[in-house]
Amino acid sequence: MNSTRDIEALIDAMAKLPGLGPRSARRAVLHLIRKRALLMQPLADLMGQVAATARECLNCGNVGTTDICDICASEKRGNGQICVVEDVADLWAMERGQVFKGRYHVLGGTLSALDQVGPEQLRIPKLIDRVDAESVTEVILALNATIDGQTTAHYIADQLEGRVSLSSLAQGVPIGGELDYLDDGTIAAALNARKSF
């Protein structure tokens, strides 16, 4: 019997995680083994717990451990604004900013003709239902500034036209950005969206 078979299997599994390769997975597993009681066991317990309870919010598509996530359940967040994002990672990024006080809607991707992703593969019908059901006054399209992201934004805008106020995130120079390092598309977008000073 191979005494390291399970450890090798763990390294192989860890190496499949984003950002990790075989070498870094080996290092991480070795570190966990050295700190079995302090790190590995609590981590294993938490992973088992989350694996059993993690699910998508039935309302917005956020990830949580209950059927309705905390944001959707909170009365305070029901201010009539819904921020549409592509992915849960984008929702988390928005929440880190602690600026937006409304609710979210996670599409689960963007329309892509070449990858054969159509509206029915995304959560667009659910968004339209929510606009009617939750007395929404404004939908903020916080989709990526890519061709696919903006194609999706225009498609949603067409579906919701005349039913609710629509807005999108501004495009331009990021905080700390230097013009010399920006691509021509960003500079063009920034110039088009210039404001009086």
Partner: protein
């Protein structure tokens, strides 16, 4: 193996954690795929947006290999993102090129027409007619060209008002006779005449759409046309409804 050319980026998809597989449409090599190392990273994201004009160098050990591209941006077509009709048109062009072109087969005339068309993106007045003409070039390049020079029945050069859904040849009112209801209407903008209103252009898209779907796509195994083309026609119809 190594070559260098300019091309239009048709598609980019992630390959592994940091690389991307891209497809470019070049004048001398046609639709050609290759790997871009680091192509999935943040630095390359603005460069590898579909529709971008790129300077590409392709290297591989053997001709049959997928090979690797090194990519330099020439110009982006990011201005299309602000206008829904331009964006729908850009997506339709890229999706149709991806759908219709065989890999590694040069189509120099179609490339030139495609590049000129994409450079017109910001001009909402010229763009739709240019797109319609581009679809006619696409059909012609792939062997499904329309013959609108003379009437297929009488040989007349004037009074062409129909087009045969089978042969793609123009037919005059006199030549059509009692078969008129089985023919497609021929909008005058397809003949390079008239004011090319939105209504006429939509009618023209109906004609080219018929040949794309029932001839070209049919011969490719009766595949449905890309959804992006339907969305562009929808966007045109919405513009017509809005402007009356």
């Amino acid at each position: 193996m190594e070559w260098r050319d300019q091309g239009i980026l048709l598609h980019s998809r992630r390959h592994g954690e940091s690389a991307a597989i891209i497809e470019v449409f070049t004048p001398s090599r046609g639709r050609h795929a290759g790997v871009v190392r680091g192509g999935a990273g943040r630095r390359m994201a603005p460069v590898l947006q579909p529709g971008a004009q790129l300077d590409v160098t392709w290297r591989a050990r053997l001709e049959d290999h997928i090979g690797a591209f090194t990519v330099e941006p020439v110009r982006s077509r990011i201005e299309a993102m602000g206008d829904r009709l331009s964006l729908a048109g850009l997506n339709a062009v890229l999706a149709l090129l991806h759908f219709a072109l065989p890999e590694r087969e040069a189509h120099g005339a179609l490339y030139l027409h495609s590049e000129n068309l994409l450079d017109l993106l910001g001009d909402a007045d010229l763009w739709p007619l240019a797109y319609l003409r581009w679809e006619m070039t696409l059909l012609e390049e792939l062997g499904y060209g329309l013959d609108l020079s003379t009437c297929a029945v009488t040989g007349a050069r004037a009074g062409l008002v129909y087009i045969s859904p089978k042969s793609g040849r123009a037919v005059s009112a006199a030549g059509a006779g009692e078969w008129a209801d089985r023919l497609l209407p021929l909008p005058q903008c397809l003949l390079g005449q008239g004011d090319a209103s939105d209504a006429e252009i939509i009618e023209g898209l109906g004609v080219t759409g018929h040949f794309l779907a029932n001839h070209m796509a049919y011969d490719m195994g009766d595949k449905p046309l890309p959804e992006a083309r339907h969305r562009f026609v929808d966007a045109m119809q919405r513009r017509l409804a809005r402007n009356g």
